[in-house]
Amino acid sequence: MTERVRESQVTKKPRSVRQLAVRHAMPLKIALGWLALLALWEIAGRQQWVAGGALPSPSGILGQLVVDWHDYPEHIRATVRTSLLGFLLGNLVAVLVGFLMASWRPAGRLLSGVNVTLFAMPPIALTPILIIAFDGDAPRIALAALSTYYPTMVATVLGLTRVDARLLDLVRLYGGGRWATLRWIRLRHALPTLLAGLRVAAPNAVLGSLLAEFGSGSGAGLGHYLIGSLGRGDPARLWGIGLVATAISAGFYLAILLLARGWVGRQAPAQESLGGSSGGSMSRASRLLCLAISITLPVLLWWGAVWGLERVGVSSFVLRSPPELVAELFSTMRPESLTSIVGGALAQTVPWCLAGMLVGLAFALLLAIVGTLSPVLGRVLMPLSLLTQSMPLVALTPLIVLIFGRDGATILAITISVTFFPAYVTLAQGMALVPAATLDCVRVLGGSRWREIGLVSLPWSLPYLCAAARLVAPRAFLGVMIAEWLATGTGVGNLLNVARGSLDYGLVWAVVVAAVLVSVLLYLAVTLVEHWVLKRYAMAPAP
């Protein structure tokens, strides 16, 4: 097949310089756009336009990187090692669970509580618990593994189940059983989808490892280096570390991409779902039973983990099992009850979270529209937005604080920076899928580009907007927590930090559980809104 592709490329040789220019116009424009952005950044850095010089110029960052280079190899090795181990461990579990869920339908329902929890929980909330529970590199590996799990699990299930039913019939027709369909159809079909999932999971593993490094006090790793460097008041160094972390993420991503290309060729994962994935054959009673088990399962896992840790000698002073925590929540022994402390903090955090979510979505929508109107601009801005995703926020916080102060503006800025990218990707995908015929319809009748967007693109992408909101809800909560922890000193983010500082482990557990619970509820609330909206407009949910 590749032979034929190459052949056809050869025959399509451009015939004139003019054609050549047209063919290369787009990449050229994009490259020029990047250069212009870099130049602007350089000038802004040199002239100290931003925040009194707190934004270093690219040349300054590179220069500092060269000067510091002898420090880097050890930290890079540690970060790569822990994220790689976490990546392997998380994927192993994810693929096994994916297999289970694909081959035994009720498993999906039973595990849904655990899966939603793992997807929605804010990783920084989990860090203190992991550091209590594990030692050495283990918290970093664990957080990297947890951050890897969800995308891989989803990809495995999708790959194994969304198979062309006709192919399955064919194998069965020839007398093949479950094994034969797995061997000849499902596994082959799952591989490209799985590799696409791994690509999303890889940068997650790096960020997970970095986040756990902030608290683990280990001697090596980029997160550790970042913290050691904070005290120098040298933004160029901080940006350098952030860029190296970003490069590692990008390296992971590219490695998987190349692996996928080499292994399964350019064959795109089939998105078509043929053959119903109906789960409706269950009785009402067994559905309710499944629901009850799926809600109880995360709690049981927590209980089991605490039990196991006590067995290996972790002091019960730092651990709380579910019943212990409930008892402590309503205990009257404290000067101020845990429920009122945590409730007060949540009352500060949740409104900002909702606001941040809306602004982040609006921002992503705006960028998606800009991307539709001017594809060049969209693709020029893309790497910049990728950067904000994998840069450890701690490196950028001094800058963000200097620009936006220490109030609501900073909370919104940080929340937007963690939410808008996934929202943008989803929305851009939706807008790209608008049928050209419908757009032509507006165009033929004399409608402007704006009318096209207003009348066709936006309504068409409604399911994608809903999917984006669902994706973004837990991240918005994470963003607000980070801002509160690093900049404003308010709400849940700050409470978690203060609770740890004062060794109040009851409060630590209460905050962690509350944060996870609120994230999950937020996610479920958005899902409900999505159902309602899509039902009203009779649309199918975005994949």
Binding site: D71, L85, G215, S315, P398, L402, A487
Partner: protein, 329 residues
Amino acid sequence: MTLSRRRFLQMTGSGVMAGALGWPALSMAQNGQGTPFAMQASWVNDAEFSGYFVAQRNGYYADEGLALDYRPGGPDVIPEGALLSNRAAVALTTVESTLKAVTQQGAPLVVIGTQYQKSPVGIVSLARTPIEKPEDLAGKVLAVPPVNRLAVEAMLAANGMSTDDVRIVPYAYDPTPLLKGEIDASLDFVTNVPYTIQLQGEDAVSFLLYDHGFPVFNDTLVVTRQTLENRRADLLAWLRASRRGWEENFQDPTRYPPLFADSFFAGNGRAIDNEIFFNQAQKPLIESPNGIFSMADADIARCVEALGRIGIDASTEHFDTSLLAELDA
């Protein structure tokens, strides 16, 4: 990165096992011969812990029959956590946090000595907008790490002020906001930040909380009651070796930091001159006529009284000087 197969298996083996089982013992470094003994420091490797580095380098712990596992700290590491999760025998802690946990949460911890006779925690500001005493803080923005918030409240209360008079924001140990004027002062070790500020072409002024209503120890040596009971000999050995390390270090505070450039201080992100500055500045705060780590009864009493003023109901019972007494005997 080239890895031999065996090395790779070693790494993956121990890491995955520890990750999967939460097995603390597996990932503990146990180098050298002797009784394994783990200490948890309160911060990343810098001059603050020079004495322990000297003792490691010169083999003082080995002389005492200990195989030391030195665990660095960091901004988010709570040293007492290492004691309570059974990962370290002794930890360097902030005394107000420890005794708050003891008195309010019932943590089974006890203070057996102190590294700093006078806590180096102070208020640092720029010389061109100086804050030289607590009263100057009125209406200003002060950045404070969450662990030290109680200390600031104590200092304000002792000077007839409260947290309503000052805007307190989180501090991430980055002097940039101070240098750019976004905050007016920050709470940090006065043995350290002024150097960084000088490096950036500014002058710093500072005052110690110790001298303004909060006379407490810092980097207190803390153990669990259980360790104090069961591992007396090991604790004595550790105290002896560590004291020897500090005494050697202060013979000439400029001598050792350069020797650690490629070992303990490697990759900590700071210049060796910074460590020398730190080591010199901390000498008068650590040394005591009664010997390094000692806790005089009068100083304990003042510490207890200061803690009482911020609602920590500490008492002299939380300090155990019996090991120090045995050390001197």
